[in-house]
Amino acid sequence: MISLSYYLTFSAVLFCVGVYGVLARRNSIMILVSIELMLNAVNINLVAFSAYVGGSDLTGQIFSLFAIAVGAGEIGVGLAIILNLYRLRNTINIDQIDFLKW
């Protein structure tokens, strides 16, 4: 039987890898992919707590399913925004997309 801390540590490592990806990348597709990795790390936490703490309670898994659905919607809209930006500006590098910055 593995202890719960292993899963939490694993998920913390994945989350921090995702944070590094969000901060260190400048291609917006890569930033979206890193955000997906962070969402998945959080989902691992939810499922692990559902298995260990909740016993026969499945609320963690249900919550995680909703998080997956919202994440899928988010990545659809995000990619549409990225494609539109590429069509308008011919680049998807976030350090060149600065027309909302003043």
């Binding site: 039987m1 593995i2 719960l4 801390s5 292993y6 899963y7 694993f10 490592v13 994945l14 989350f15 921090c16 890898v17 995702g18 944070v19 590094y20 990806g21 260190a24 990348r25 400048r26 291609n27 597709i29 890569m30 890193s34 997906e36 990795l37 998945n40 989902n43 691992i44 499922v47 559902s50 298995a51 260990y52 703490v53 016993g55 026969s56 499945l58 898994q61 249900i62 995680s64 399913l65 909703f66 997956i68 659905a69 919202v70 994440g71 919607g73 988010e74 659809g76 809209v77 990619l79 549409a80 925004i81 494609l83 539109n84 590429y86 069509r87 308008l88 500006r89 011919n90 680049t91």
Partner: protein, 173 residues
């Protein structure tokens, strides 16, 4: 045995994640993302959440990665730049993520988790999830379906403006 499988899956997933955030090629990065997502699906099976593993493979490893590959095909990164995918300030990003990891580990180690006995039972089967979802969580389920519909329409509206393109490209050289 369970620990052995967990360690193998965790190493695969974390190495794939590190390759994902450090690769120089978007396609390679997206493929290692797929590998990381499959590793996470294996972790779900290890946690007796078979339905979650199936949903993970179907939605993330299947759908989302195909969508990302399409976005990759429809755009192009900046050419002629060394490490064009990366921001110049990588060292502060690395320090930030290491510090965040230290804080998270501090929280994980110092907290006493109210852990119950693990129940590897049939109750985690998909039919139990279906019962819970359609008895207790019907309203959030419907709201999520509306959110997905709105996201679909929004993606079409944002991404599908074909006829405006030539004018706007003329305006902005």
């Amino acid at each position: 045995m369970q620990l052995f499988i967990f360690i193998i899956l965790a190493i695969i997933t974390i190495v794939a994640g590190i390759v994902m955030v450090s690769a120089d090629n978007i396609a390679r990065s997206i493929y290692s993302h797929v590998l990381a997502l499959l590793g996470i699906a294996g972790i779900y099976i290890l946690l007796y959440a078979e339905f979650m593993a199936g949903v993970q493979v179907l939605i993330y490893a299947g759908g989302v990665s195909i969508m990302l590959l399409f976005a990759l095909m429809l755009t192009k990164p900046a050419k002629g730049v060394v490490r064009a995918l990366d921001h110049p300030k990588r060292v502060p990003a690395f320090i930030t993520s290491v510090v965040l990891f230290g804080l998270l580990m501090f929280g994980i180690i110092t907290t006493k988790w109210p852990v119950q006995a693990h129940q590897p039972s049939i109750i985690m089967a998909p039919e139990a999830i279906g019962k819970v979802m359609f008895v207790h969580y019907v309203l959030p389920f419907e709201i999520v379906s509306i959110i997905l519909l709105v996201a679909l329409i929004g993606a079409v509206v944002i991404g599908g403006k074909e006829e405006n393109t030539p004018d706007e490209e003329k305006e902005e050289p």
